[in-house]
Each structure stands twice: as C-alpha cells, then as structure tokens.
C-alpha cells in the first residue's frame, strides 16, 4: 500500500471515529433507550388486552413495520416542514429511530411476556399481588431474560442503521467518511475503514451481550 494511502487512513481515522463517539453512539443510545420504554408500554398494553389502546398499538406497529426506515426519516425531516413542523436533524433522527425500533421491539417483548408461564401470574395473584406488582416483580424480569438476546440483536442493528441519518444531514460516521472520500478519491480504503469502526462498536456490544446474558441467567443455572 502506498505511503499516501496510509497517510489518508491514519489521518482520517480520528475524523471518522470522533463523530462515531459524539453522534453515532449517543444517537443509538438515546434512541434505543426511548425505544425500549415505548416498546415495553406497547407490549404491556397488548399483553393486558386493553381494549381501544390495543388496536392503537397494532396500528402503530403496522404502519412502522410496513414502511422503510429511510422513508420515515424523509417524511419527518423533509416532509413535516411542509406543514410547519421543523425538527433539527439530530432530534429528528432520535425521534424516528426510537419510534421505528419501538415497534419491532414491542413485538419481541410481547412474545417474551407471553412466554412466561401463566402459573407465575396466578401465583402472584394468590399471594395477594395486583396485576402491576406481578408484572413489575415477576413477569417482566423473567421476560427480560427471554427478550435479551433478540433485543441485543436490535441494538446492534441500530448502531448500523444510524448511518441512514447521513441522509438527513446528521454528520455521523458515514457522512464524515463520504466527505473525506470526496476529497481524497479513495472510496475502497475509506469505506473499509468506516466499516471496521462499525465492526469495532458492534464487537464491544456483542461482548456486553454475553456478560448481560450470564447475569440474567443466574436463576436458571443450577
């Protein structure tokens, strides 16, 4: 490899990594945290079978899952200003990612809630607990263990999906790379480089998933 190329790669590394640390990671972390709250609420409403709200949840999931993430980003960022709603790129990305992921994760969590044996809930009633207490102390903790691997999947997917935010002018890792490519004309090396940084982030998350799973498994390993 030429000395010039090495120079470009080394020079560009912090220029790509820093937006990764200041934009990609916060964007993922905040969006995913909000998505989890939303998903848990949506899943619990369906699990409890709350009449009208349940239909609303199904509608939300139907819309979100049936349309591309990129289209959702465009509608909110480029479309809504047309009716006077203007949101800055970063909060706009958070909003769209959170609502998008919330719909998918709601289904993951609902499945995990339904996998908790019915007898656990009945036992909770029989010791005097009410529905909310049973959910909080018995069912959700057990469902979390089931949902943890697929939710980790979603988190890892989201790290990479944040690159779509480049399309709405969020200068995250991919956009920073595109700018350097435009200047240096080294697409192969630079896109490989940014790919490696994504891989690095996801490797850390994979390790964390492993640690998390072991913690959550304390009560099943005899």
């Amino acid at each position: 490899m030429s000395e010039r190329l090495w120079g470009i790669l080394i020079d560009s590394f912090p220029k790509i990594l820093i937006p990764g640390l200041t934009l990609t990671i916060p964007l993922t972390a905040i969006s995913f945290a909000l998505a989890m709250i939303l998903a848990l609420i949506v899943a619990l409403i369906q699990f409890a079978g709350v009449r009208f709200l349940k239909d609303l949840c199904r509608f939300y999931i139907w819309i979100i899952r049936g349309t591309p993430l990129l289209v959702q980003l465009y509608i909110v960022f480029f479309g809504l200003p047309g009716i006077g709603i203007i949101i800055d790129p970063f909060p706009c990305a958070i909003l769209v990612f959170a609502f998008n992921e919330g719909a998918y994760s709601a289904e993951t969590i609902r499945a995990a809630l339904e996998a908790v044996p019915r007898g656990q809930i009945e036992a909770g009633y029989c010791v005097g607990m009410n529905w909310f207490q049973i959910m909080r102390r018995i069912v959700i903790p057990q469902a979390l263990r089931t949902a943890f691997p697929p939710l980790s999947n979603s988190l890892i997917a989201m790290v990479k999906d944040t690159s779509l935010a480049a399309n709405i002018t969020v200068a995250e890792m991919l956009m920073s790379t595109q700018r350097i490519v435009a200047r240096t004309y080294e697409p192969l090396a630079l896109y490989l480089e940014v790919g490696l940084i994504y891989l690095l982030f996801c490797t850390v998350l994979t390790k964390l998933q492993h640690v998390g799973e072991q913690r959550l498994n304390t009560y099943v390993a005899s």
Partner: protein, 240 residues
C-alpha cells in the same frame, strides 16, 4: 358460622357445563377432601373459589362477607385472596426469586409487611416445612417435593384463614409425595382449615374430616370422612 360458604356455583368452559349448582360450606378447622374422577371439575371448583376462574353464577361468603362470584372486581378478588392461601399442582414458584424471596415477596409487596418482619416470618414457615437451609437457592435447584413444600410455606406465610390445595402431589414422583403429605398432615393436626383436591385416597381417609365428591359437575356426596369410607366399604388398595 361457617368460615366459607358457597351457594349455587356454576361454571361452563368452552360451552360445556363443568360445574352446576354447587353448594358447600367449610367450618373453621375443617380439612375437606374433594374427590372424584379426573375431569369432573374439582380443580375448576377450587380455582373458582380463589377467583382464578370466574364462575358464571354463584355466591361466596367468606368470613361473613358475601361476594357475587359472577361480577367480582379485581379489588374484591384481591381482598378475598388476602384471607386464603393456594398451593398449585405445578408449584408455580416464582422462578426469578430465591426460596426466601418467594415467601417474602407477597408479604412485603401485597401485605405491606416490613422486610425484617417478612424475612422472620419466611424463616419461620421454612423451618416448619424443613427447608430453612434452602432459603437462598433458586427454585430450579430444588426437587419436586422441596418445591411443593416451599409452595406450602409461601401459602402459609400470610397466616391465611383457609388453605386450598390443588392436587398438591400429582406432579410429583411417587417417592416424593410422602414429604409433602407429611407437611399437610401436620397442618391439619394444627387445626389449619384446608380444602384439598386430591387423588390420594388413603391420605384423604387419614387426614380429612370431611369428604366431598363430585360427579357430572354436581356434588355427589358431602359427608364426614368416616361415614364416607364406611359406606363405601372402601377399597383403599387401588391407590398408591
């Protein structure tokens, strides 16, 4: 006055009548065995009494308070369960809680007992069923018999006025039923009011003071244990 009285309880499941017009009463200190062939509705009856199933009709009078079983509200159901304990065939121990927490959970969360008092009470009932040394393990590492003894300890912890047992030994290996039955025998001797759905005929004969049998969703016999087994001329050889 009866501790528990049920009047005209009926229940259908999937369009088929399971229980029709069941009436019975339980006096303080009674140990009532509910017998009958499988599928006759014994478990459904017990579950209706503790509001795990909603009866289609009927009245439940517990400790002098009357409840309309068809229109019971969650709060009312919770209030009834404050007086009862329930032991499941499948144990249903909280899998994510230790043995001790299985017992303290309801006391702290539902009955607003202080943690210290709850732990003390839990240790007391665990000692009673001989499992104090297992207080910090998770249910997964217990044998079936141990699980059920924890189940009994959990039901007992809140000092219920009446304890329901739904086939407490049916999910156990035959060699493990003894330890559970012996705990139940002790409870009966201590004067605990118990309603037991069981297939353990000899246990029913030895421990209960009343026998209720169901047939076709109705009460077939309701009599004291001695009369029941004398009249039947009973063959206890068939059971294990």
């Amino acid at each position: 006055m009866s501790l528990l009285e049920v009047r005209n309880l009926s229940k259908a499941l999937g369009g088929q009548t399971v229980l029709s017009d069941i009436s019975l009463s339980v006096e303080p200190g009674d140990c009532v065995a509910i017998l009958g062939p499988s599928g006759v509705g014994k478990t459904t009856l017990l579950r209706c009494l503790n509001l795990l199933e909603r009866a289609d009709a009927g009245e439940l009078i517990l400790d002098g308070v009357s409840h309309d079983l068809k229109h019971i509200r969650p709060k009312e159901a919770a209030a009834i369960r404050m007086h009862t304990g329930f032991v499941f065939q499948e144990f249903n121990l909280f899998l994510n809680k230790t043995v001790l927490e299985n017992i303290t959970e309801g006391l702290i969360v539902a009955r607003k007992m202080s943690r210290a008092d709850a732990v003390q009470r839990a240790e007391e009932v665990l000692r009673h069923v001989g499992l104090l040394d297992k207080r910090d393990v998770y249910p997964v590492s217990l044998s079936g018999g141990q699980k059920q003894r924890v189940g009994i300890a959990r039901a007992l912890a809140a000092k219920p006025q009446i304890l329901y047992f739904d086939e407490p030994t049916s999910a156990l290996d035959p060699e493990l039923t003894g330890e559970v039955l012996s705990v139940m025998r002790d409870l009966a001797q201590d004067g605990m009011t118990m309603v037991i759905v069981t297939h353990e005929i000899s246990f029913a004969r030895d421990v209960s003071n009343r026998v209720i049998t169901l047939r076709d969703g109705r009460v077939e016999t309701d009599t004291d244990t001695q009369t029941y087994f004398t009249q039947k001329g009973v063959t206890v050889n068939g059971d294990r």
